[in-house]
Amino acid sequence: MTGPRPILEVDALERRFDVSAPWLNRLLEGKPRRSLRAVDGVDFDILPGQTLALVGESGCGKSTIAKLVTGLHAPSGGAIRFNGDPARMQMIFQDPFASLNPRWRVGRIVAEPLRTLFPETPDTQVQARVDELLRTVGLAPADASKFPHEFSGGQRQRISIARALAGEPEFLVCDEPTSALDVSVQAQVLNLMKRLQKEMGLTYLFISHDLSVVRHMADVIAVMYLGRIVEIQPAADLFAKPLHPYTRMLLDTIPDLEAPRRDRAPMGGEVPSPVSPPSGCSFHPRCPLAFGRCQAERPQRLPHVHDRRVACFAAEAAADV
């Protein structure tokens, strides 16, 4: 099958972290080295102009993938191919308070990528571009002379977006960009991000733990559990026909404003430690469909199972019949 070429191709990506005790303790207490598989064999592609969302509970590896894709971490295995211009990849972080230099005026913050990437740009042109960017994100050119602390959370996230846009990005990695914001402010930021995507043809790798936000933003959704993608589907399909038991339980668990269910049965158990994940399918201790094979063997996302969309033996069996 041939279609448009993905702008990002991620293949069997792995990242391990050494979480051993200090070597002296290991020596004295005879403790072995321990490593944590934060990202444990992840594959996905993103088409230009689309949004792929990673969703999952805390610690499942979303931010680590963001850091691998943007080069802040080196992979321990696998490959990341970026078929765009690496200089035009930018990142937006969760915390609009920590990610802006508090001692710089907003104008300098927004201009920084411009000055780094195109150092020969004349000052007047930089100034004009900053004015334009501030207007684009719904701030005023006069805001350039203020400091970050003079802005609200949502306004600070707009400043982060203006800064990310200054480098004329084609690809944006957004790690929980609205998680620190109130819903009314979140709506302003999400609408802005969607509008900019449409106008500038941006591609997003969009990370969130909030399924309703992800549904609103994403073309394709990848659900993660303990460092792995357990299911990946177009957004509408994922909600209409979730294939993996974990996805189904997540959808059953989250409170629904429009159809509140006061007797909702919460999902049992807790996310196990990624230092010693369960054998086989790491979801098996919490899975209502688990059977013998699930403890022994790790399910793969196989080409013949629902277009390679789900990693689960029960789903495989259902597809085989």
Binding site: D182, N191, K194, H209, L211, R215, L257, R264
Partner: protein
């Protein structure tokens, strides 16, 4: 009819600052009955926590209660001194905060902390208090309690810690629990476990609960009634289903529209223009008027109030809802 467990009338909380007095909670009236869960929502800075802290007597000076009354099962508690308030906290009012570590001492075993609290508020022997602690830990769903009771707080996961805090808050059989964002720091799948637990235990015991959260979904599935706060004031108060389905206050309906839907695709989320005013710059009249599409002259002149300011009263603090016009 018996007294409500909590009755707050015209509560006002102020912070004197160099630039004048800031009013963080402005004329709030509400009540909670036995076994009832009142949700309190609103965006960051709306005054939710300050309302809870005022009830608990935990306002940090110079913050102070500057007006109104707070009654617990009919007894005035807003004018008590710190020693009297301490006796009420823990015994008659339990507290659960976002970070379980604010309620747990990291240096003591969780079992000892529970036994300590139980003995402080009862005349049980050590052995009997320990048996009760074990029963409570089982009830909140700690697995293998006999093995874990002598662990320290850091040896538990965030969700387990919050279960222990719930056990601690319930250990003295309080009449009222103030839970301030009890699940905000937890994972989605754990959040549901904790809210379900809190709901079940308080129902069984008839405990009144004030559940402060920014998550409308949690409110919709947990609370009986909801109070929506804006800029320190009550915007709307009513049964959850009504407020969610037929919000009367333009701020509430804007808030509902800004939440992305799990069921429908929309191209654009509804937006409320602008931002909530800072405390020092609250506009005259209705605090929401600069952002409201229905604002009229009356809105810029007079502060609307939830009908009659009756603590059990329902309704919206909005001239349009109250009088059908804003002229």
């Amino acid at each position: 009819m018996s007294d409500p467990v909590l009755e707050v009338r015209n509560l006002r909380v102020e912070f004197p600052t160099r630039h004048g007095i800031l009013t963080a909670v402005d004329d709030i009236s509400l009540s909670i009955g036995r076994g009832e869960i009142l949700g309190v929502v609103g965006e960051s800075g709306a005054g939710k926590s300050m309302t809870g802290m005022a009830i608990l007597g935990l306002l940090e000076p110079p913050g102070r209660i500057a007006g109104g009354e707070i009654r617990l099962s009919g007894d005035r508690i807003d004018s008590l001194d710190e020693r009297q308030m301490q006796a009420i906290r823990g015994r008659r009012i339990g507290a659960i905060f976002q970070d379980p570590l604010t309620s747990l001492n990291p240096l003591f075993r969780v079992g000892d902390q529970l036994v300590e609290t139980i003995r402080l508020h009862s005349d049980l022997s050590r052995g009997a208090a320990r048996a009760r602690a074990i029963a409570l830990m089982k009830e909140v769903g700690i697995p293998a309690v006999e093995e874990r009771i002598d662990n320290y707080p850091h040896q538990f996961s965030g969700g387990m810690r919050q279960r222990i805090v719930i056990a601690l808050a319930l250990s003295a059989e309080p009449e009222l629990i103030i839970a301030d964002e009890p699940t905000t720091a937890l994972d989605v799948s754990i959040q549901a476990q904790i809210t379900a637990l809190l709901k079940r235990l308080c129902r069984d015991r008839g405990t009144a609960v004030m559940l402060v959260t920014h998550d409308m979904g949690v409110i919709a599935e947990t609370a009986d009634r909801v109070a929506v706060m804006y800029a320190g004031r009550l915007a709307e108060l009513g049964p959850v289903d009504e407020v969610v389905r037929r919000p009367q206050h333009p701020y509430t309906s804007g808030l509902m529209g800004s939440i992305p839907s799990l069921r429908r695709e929309v191209d654009e989320l509804q937006m409320i223009p602008g931002a909530m005013p800072r405390l020092g710059a609250i506009p005259t009249g209705c605090a929401f008027n600069p952002r409201c599409a229905h604002a009229g002259p009356k809105c810029r002149r007079e502060v609307p109030r939830v009908a009659g300011n009756d603590p059990s009263g329902n309704g919206a603090a909005c001239w349009l809802a109250l009088e059908g016009e804003t002229a």
